[in-house]
């Protein structure tokens, strides 16, 4: 497939607006301004573009939920809080082609009639926040943003807002709270952000990659976009492959390729000729898949059918040298650390799981532990919590216990501590992140 979202990767000076304009940039924005908001929403609906942030919700439908007759302001938020373990695609887009995102934001804002858009970017992404600021400045200087854009009478301001380092702020309602200057606690839904969002106003929150697709839909048409991938799972998708493969990295492939193709053809197979043991199809919060499931298609529906999810497309590959108890322990620690602490099952359960897995890894596992883990996971997911963070740790952990139960039981029977395989952390000698901007 010819690259779409990553077409500027490797092009010298790809970040500048001149390069972007020379490659036909902002044509989609001009076309959108001529079409009118409703036609833009229709075009995106027809393209069957689905949200790339993890949930895979149809983007056009999300836009159409914004109340038509709302009198006050509305907002568009670009979610660049890329913090899912194993995911590094948004950074890649911003690094090489920030104007693609800016143009997508402009078109989306126009479609929902928002005059203010925010880019909520992960706090650690200082460099990419600067890149976006520069790109916004360039676009504004060309009259592509600001008041009365290109004489259309439409005003648009884009602000970059850096997060403060919480995973949970990637969840759209926690992101909104954080953007408002509050503690990043997810909100109880309903009402959904499309009705009550930033500052109580209708808000659409879209992922960077989703918005980056929008200019291409506007320039090349919905039919072209829908022709990529397979029905209901259309368009190009960035897969961030990490772990035990020979060539890890970000790959742009049409939705619907198999995981085997991603791992074996594009990433050069498992490193050192070892055997594939398991892989996470969409970041660490997606239920794990075994080597037998490698022929599943990498798209939203096929993954759902296989009882996992495509999530953000962060494929984490594990070879047969990996101990699943160590993986589970690592993941449980991440979620215990990132749980916001608001609702009971996730606050108590995530830490409890981490404690149990720590104990197992230290060689003190009990026979009842796998069942206790499954019980905790069962009551932390499927609507037991306010936001999906409960599912984010419960589903992968329970999938690991279910699919690799023998390994967990062997670890308990062995009663020997796992070797510590954590990489040493080097002291940071450069400038402190967070003070550069």
């Amino acid at each position: 497939m010819e690259p779409v979202l990553l077409r500027a990767r490797g092009v010298p000076g790809s970040r500048s607006i001149a390069t972007y304009l020379a490659a036909g940039g902002y044509e989609g924005w001009k076309r959108a301004l001529g079409l009118g908001p409703d036609a833009v929403v229709k075009e995106v609906l027809d393209s069957e573009l689905r949200g790339r942030g993890g949930a895979g919700f149809p983007t056009g439908r999300k836009w159409s939920f914004v109340p038509k007759d709302h009198p006050g302001p509305r907002y568009l938020v670009c979610n660049a809080d890329e913090s899912e373990p194993g995911t590094f695609k948004d950074r890649e887009i911003i690094e090489h082609d920030p104007h693609q995102v800016i143009e997508g934001i402009a078109i989306a804002s126009f479609a929902i009639k928002a005059n203010t858009a925010y880019i909520y970017i992960r706090g650690e992404f200082v460099r990419w926040a600067t890149i976006l600021e520069e790109a916004i400045g360039e676009a504004r200087a060309k009259g592509l943003l600001g008041t009365n854009v290109l004489g259309s009478g439409f005003d648009l301001d884009i602000w970059v807002h850096r997060g403060a380092g919480a995973y949970i702020c990637g969840e759209e309602t926690a992101l909104i709270e954080s953007l408002e200057g509050k503690r990043g606690f997810p909100r109880l839904k309903p009402p959904f952000p499309a009705v009550v969002g930033v500052f109580g106003k209708p808000t659409v929150v879209n992922n960077v990659e989703t918005l980056a697709c929008v200019p291409h839909i506007m320039t090349r048409g919905a039919a072209w976009f829908a022709s990529i991938g397979r029905p209901r799972n259309t368009g190009p998708k960035l897969f961030c492959v990490s772990g035990h493969v020979n060539r890890p990295g970000v790959y742009e492939l049409p939705l619907g390729v198999t995981f085997r193709e991603i791992i074996e053809e594009h990433c050069g197979g498992v490193r050192g000729g070892r055997k594939l043991k398991a892989f996470f199809p969409g970041g660490s919060s997606a239920p794990v898949m075994t080597a037998d499931e490698v022929d599943v298609k990498a798209d939203f529906d096929a993954c759902a059918e296989a009882q996992t999810m495509l999530g953000s497309g962060g494929v984490i590959v594990l070879d047969d040298s990996v101990d699943m108890v160590a993986v589970a322990d690592n993941i449980a620690h991440f979620y215990a650390h990132e749980s916001c602490g608001q609702c009971t099952p996730c606050r108590e359960g995530s830490d409890w799981c981490a404690d149990i897995l720590d104990r197992m890894a230290a060689g003190h596992g009990r026979a009842s532990d796998p069942d206790t883990l499954l019980r905790i996971c069962r009551f932390s997911s499927e609507g037991m919590t306010i936001c999906p963070l409960g599912d984010a740790y419960a589903l992968p952990l329970s999938s690991m216990v279910n699919k690799f139960r023998a390994e967990f039981e062997r670890r308990i029977a062995d009663a020997t501590p796992l070797p510590q395989k954590r990489l040493p952390v080097l002291p940071w000698t450069g400038p402190r992140p967070g003070f550069g901007i």
């Binding site: 602490g341 608001q342 609702c343 009971t344 149990i356 206790t372 009551f379 037991m384």
Partner: protein, 557 residues
């Protein structure tokens, strides 16, 4: 008006009622910890999970509005029950089992729920070390609130209280996830004017009131509905007492006045109800105060009252409507004396009602509007000085605390002329000039009504009979004797509520229409004769019901 079925009971509730309240109306109990009727719904504790027929996922009782035709299963749903059990297991995984030494025991929602639903069935799978917050077990957050973070179940009620009700946003979460804890914003002292309400709303023993800690186990307390005597807003309270001692005030729900809140000033007046310096009637004889019997005192006072020319009566806005009415009828109308009710300006107080509106009061009396509505002569300090100026046959001061002027040198100078009879409870300079010193009973053993600054006539009940009255001993036998100080059934003394003394005086003075047996009878008479009380009925005066569900709702706030 949506109509829904909860556990087989059909119920019709107002639109936008949530399932917890709808179930309450249907007689089904949905447990909750973080839900509070006057705070925003956050759905944090997850214990109110219920099953709704036709929905794949369990729903939250607090966040789901009642809609027409909903079929809700609470007790009858195995799935919901299982989920609630799991939530309890999560909560108890890290909650200390220190109920025996926890001050909240007996009025703890977590304990109540545990006892109600899981008495015999609770099992935990927890084998890990319990989470603790070293150094946060006994921390003073402010002048009145003691924090034990180990017991916190992270319901955020206290935080929401400071954000939404007292509007100081003094409390906040710090840290994240399992190590999250409650702290004051910026480390400042939590000295909110309503700070103790944070302990009221705390469903567990994480926040407790410093003044009440370890004073009394909650189950020993009896609660009597009453009205806060602190200002004219008239917050509804419970007097929590045991063995004729008042231990605390707790707010009693009244959406129109104080919702479920109480300011710290009013709350901590509770201890003042136990003060009783003067125990017996006393008469000045040859410069000394001599103990007298009530019968003797009433007969002698009646004689003096008949002869007094002129008769001056200083009433008080601390007195109930019934007492003011009796005073007006007896001293004003029957004996043709002059009456005045002195009012002093007090500190500004405010209270938030159930609609979120602030009510304000600038006077420290619970019944200033009642005195006005009874048509009494309301005077300020200067007016009181004019009122007391010049000789009088007899001056009655029905409440020594009626005005700060009465404690001043000028008042004492003025009252040295002529005879004076003073009702008082605690040490007061007027004792030095009083010819008759009559012990007044506290609000806890008085009964009657106050008119709030918003014009609502509110009834308060007597928590216990006045000291020294005939009452039952623990054996059940009648005790004619005055209890001694060491006796567990009451303090000594013969202090009597004013209404009782006034009706006795009426009998003695030949005013049989005022010789009434209870404040209820006085109120009925008052309702017949006074326009301000027309149409009101004693029994119907709000908020005195004390059934279990009502009480439960009070104590969770």
């Amino acid at each position: 008006m949506p109509k829904l079925t909860i556990d087989g009971h059909e119920v019709e509730v107002a639109a936008r009622t949530n399932l917890i309240e709808a179930a309450r109306a249907a007689g089904v109990f949905i447990p909750y910890f973080c839900y509070h009727p006057y705070l925003t719904v956050v759905g944090q504790c997850r214990i109110c999970m219920v099953e709704i027929q036709g929905q794949p996922r369990l729903a939250l009782g607090c966040a789901t509005p009642a809609t027409d035709g909903l079929v809700v299963k609470v007790e009858t749903s195995a799935r919901a029950k299982e989920a609630r059990e799991a939530v309890m297991e999560f909560l108890l995984a890290n909650h200390p089992l220190d109920c025996p030494v926890c001050d909240q025991a007996g009025e703890c929602l977590l304990q109540d729920h545990s006892m109600r639903e899981q008495r015999d069935t609770f099992t935990t799978h927890m084998a890990e070390t319990r989470r603790t917050f070293p150094g946060y077990e006994r921390r003073l957050l402010g002048p009145h609130i003691v924090q034990n973070q180990n017991r916190c179940i992270h319901c955020s009620r206290c935080i929401r209280f400071t954000q939404e009700i007292s509007e100081t946003a003094a409390l906040t979460y710090k840290s994240r996830g399992n190590s999250e804890f409650i702290d004051t914003f910026d480390g400042r002292a939590f000295d909110d004017p309503m700070s103790a309400c944070a302990a009221d709303v705390c469903p567990v023993g994480a926040l407790t009131v410093r003044e009440f800690r370890f004073r009394k186990r909650a189950w020993k307390l009896s609660s009597t509905p009453s009205i806060c005597p602190g200002c004219s807003i008239g917050c509804n309270i419970f007097i929590d007492h045991h063995e004729r001692e008042v231990h605390r005030f707790t707010p009693r729900e009244n959406p129109a006045i104080n919702a479920t809140w109480l300011c710290d000033y009013g709350r901590f007046l509770a201890d003042s109800l136990n003060e009783q310096t003067y125990l017996y009637p006393q008469r000045r004889a040859a410069g000394h105060m001599v103990r007298a019997e009530w019968g003797e005192a009433i007969a002698a006072l009646a004689l003096e009252l008949r002869a007094a020319r002129p008769l001056r009566v200083v009433a008080s806005a601390n007195l109930s409507n019934e007492e003011l009415f009796l005073a007006r009828e007896l001293f004003g109308r029957h004996l043709r004396g002059e009456l005045a009710v002195p009012l002093a300006a007090g500190e500004q107080r405010r209270m938030r009602n159930g609609k979120g509106e602030w009510l304000h009061a600038a006077d420290p009396y619970p019944n200033s509007l009642g005195a006005r509505r009874l048509g009494l002569n309301v005077v300020d300090g200067e007016g009181l000085s004019r009122f007391l100026y010049g000789g009088a046959g007899l001056t009655l001061i029905l409440d020594a605390e009626a005005h700060p002027f009465l404690a001043g040198a000028e008042a004492l100078q003025l009252l040295r002329v002529g005879a004076t009879a003073v009702w008082m409870r605690c040490e007061h300079p007027l004792a030095g000039v009083a010819g008759w010193l009559l012990p007044a009973a506290s609000l806890a053993s008085d009964e009657g009504t106050f008119t709030s600054s918003t014009g609502v006539v509110q009834r308060f009940a007597a928590a216990f009979s006045p000291p020294g009255t005939v009452h039952r001993m623990p054996t059940g036998a009648m005790s004619p004797e005055c209890p001694t100080i060491a006796s567990p059934w009451g303090p000594p003394g013969e202090a009597r509520p004013l209404w009782l003394v006034l009706t006795a005086l009426a009998r003695e003075l030949g005013a049989p229409n005022l010789d009434l047996a209870s404040p209820a009878e006085v109120f009925t008479l008052m309702a017949q004769t006074d326009r301000a009380f027309a149409g009101l009925e004693w029994e119907a005066l709000g908020g005195l019901k004390l059934d279990e569900s009502f009480r439960e709702r009070q104590h969770v706030g």
